[in-house]
């Protein structure tokens, strides 16, 4: 079975600076795929390139059998690809309801939009309570919920989530990821989640990739990644002390 989203040898530049250098990955229908990596690894650039905010220099992005690289963002959203941006990026002076309406901007079927709104309120009841409130006055966690809900309004075929845990407390992070898990299991929402918080991301995901300096350096099922020594050491922070209690900065990653 071919993947819903295929990224092949993607290269994207910020002016003269190369941000991703030949990334390939697959996301299958119904899967949650996570891309782990530190700051500056190129994770956000990858998502921005998929959603058309940035144009790739080389490589292909194939969605449902069709090449979509280099298209305008609104054309990509129309295909059912929605990005939930890093740092929420809600419309601060608009109400929660208006923010959600904008999530369905490319949709015109009112009944469908109303159903999507009900679904969002079912998963995020707090948004229903605050629907007339301006989004800028919500707390960080509520804004993240709004950003995800706004993405759901599209009835997306795939959701690209950029660091949903950013700036949230551990408890809120758990809560958000639990909701994402339910959305995947119960609603079948396909997701590509970019994260620094490897523990929660690997717990949610089926498949994982590790990105460093613009390259994919590891890929495996989430389970095996979580168990691998590199991930344990560098992303999950388990100091799996050796016999002589070697220091972690002396240890080299296996892919170097």
């Amino acid at each position: 079975m071919s993947a819903l989203l295929e990224v092949r040898n993607l290269e994207t530049y910020y002016g003269p600076i190369v941000a991703i250098r030949g990334v390939s990955l697959d996301v299958h229908q119904g899967q949650v795929v996570t891309v782990l990596g530190a700051n500056g690894a190129g994770k956000t650039t990858l998502l921005k390139t998929i959603s058309g905010i940035m144009d790739p220099e080389k490589g292909r992005i194939v969605f449902d059998g069709e090449e979509i690289q280099g298209r305008e963002p609104h054309q990509i959203v129309r295909r059912g690809i929605v990005q939930v941006p890093e740092g929420r990026e809600v419309f601060p002076l608009l109400t929660v309801d208006e923010n959600l309406s904008l999530g369905a901007y490319t949709k015109s079927n009112r009944a469908e939009i109303a159903r999507a709104r009900d679904l969002v309120f079912e998963y995020f009841p707090i948004l229903k309570e605050r629907r007339q409130q301006e989004a800028g006055t919500l707390s960080g966690g509520q804004q993240q919920m709004l950003a995800i809900g706004r993405g759901l309004m599209l009835k997306p075929r795939i959701m690209l989530l950029d660091e949903p845990s950013l700036g949230l407390s551990p408890i809120l992070t758990q809560e958000i990821f639990a909701i994402l898990k339910r959305l995947n299991k119960d609603e079948g929402v396909t997701m590509l989640v970019v994260e620094q918080n490897a523990a929660v991301a690997l717990d949610l995901a089926d498949q994982g990739y590790v990105m460093e300096l613009g390259r994919i350096v590891m890929s495996d099922t989430a389970e095996r990644l979580a168990a691998s020594e590199d991930i344990q050491r560098f992303y999950l922070g388990h100091a799996n002390e050796g016999a002589r209690g070697e220091r972690r900065w002396k240890k080299r990653k296996t892919w170097r």
Partner: protein
């Protein structure tokens, strides 16, 4: 009664300033550029009406000409955006400022070439007669200006609140990046904002032309309107309108009660005071709330 008289003529002037200021703010909010040709848009709108309505030009019925003029100006605003302004997308702010100033010059000279440099009058049915009520004489034109401005304000408010495009304009001005993520065709929406600003300027021009004589330097009241937008709080639509009204009202009162010449000066004195004491404008709180 003299007070009422001054107030009403001031309000009528203020409405025109307010409408131009509205154009400034619309474009600023949507594109973060300041269109210094906004006053000249107003002047051009008035002259388009002259061209359509006046007997020695096309001589079309006034009420037929109004939608036509609005359409022409709207199309012009949109075309300017997609041809000239979009090519500067991502450039320095200064480049856009200079461009719009130059655009103002071009509009002024082209209009001068077509319509001549002599003052002329728009043959407007609004320009006839006065109304007497409560001991005050109000010219029909002033009354029309105030009524049309109120109606237009309500229509704009409804447009921003109720329509999909209006909501998209608000979204694109509040968070351009997120607007892209939502699949809003931001550039097209910005073109629509330019069109809307040109239409509003055209309305202001028709009203201005109905109030008195018109020449190609009429666009310079855009400077006063800019002051009004800053006084109201640049970035706030209600603020722009209020700023316009304040400037409009302050002028006749200053001319009446202060020594000669102060009337012209008063708006700018107020501008400086506002910039010193409330740099975000008088209606900054309004700005953080809505639109």
């Amino acid at each position: 009664m003299e007070f009422m008289q001054l107030l009403i003529s001031g309000l009528a002037n203020g409405c025109v300033y307010g409408l131009i200021a509205l154009g400034f703010v619309l474009i600023y909010k949507a594109t973060e550029a300041v269109n210094f040709a906004q006053g000249d848009f107003m002047m051009l709108g008035a002259f388009v009406m002259v061209g359509l309505v006046n007997p020695h030009f096309l001589g079309i019925n006034f009420w037929l000409a109004v939608p036509l003029a609005l359409l022409i100006m709207g199309a012009l605003g949109y075309l300017l955006d997609i041809t000239i302004l979009r090519s500067l997308f991502g450039q320095n702010q200064v480049a856009i400022v200079i461009l719009t100033i130059a655009l103002g010059f071009v509009i002024r000279f082209v209009t001068g070439v077509i319509f001549g440099h002599e003052p002329m009058n728009l043959h407007s049915p609004l320009a006839l007669g006065d109304v007497r009520a409560f001991g005050v004489v109000i010219s029909m034109a002033d009354l029309a200006v105030i009524i049309v401005t109120v109606i237009l304000t309500i229509m704009l408010w409804q447009f921003f609140q109720r329509t999909r495009l209006g909501l998209a304009m608000q979204a694109a001005s509040q968070n351009q990046m997120a607007a892209y993520y939502m699949g809003i065709p931001v550039k097209r929406v910005q073109g629509a904002v330019w069109a809307l600003a040109a239409v509003v300027a055209c309305v202001a021009g028709i009203l201005y032309g109905s109030k008195g004589s018109l020449d190609i330097s009429a666009g310079f009241i855009g400077i006063k309107a800019f002051a009004a937008a800053v006084i109201g709080g640049f970035g706030s639509l209600p603020g722009a309108l209020m700023g316009g009204l304040i400037v409009g009202v302050i002028e006749p009162f200053a001319s009446r009660y202060l020594p000669a010449g102060y009337g012209q000066l008063a708006p700018y004195v107020l501008l400086i005071l506002v910039l010193v004491f409330r740099p975000h404008g008088l209606f900054a709180q309004v700005r953080t709330k809505k639109v």
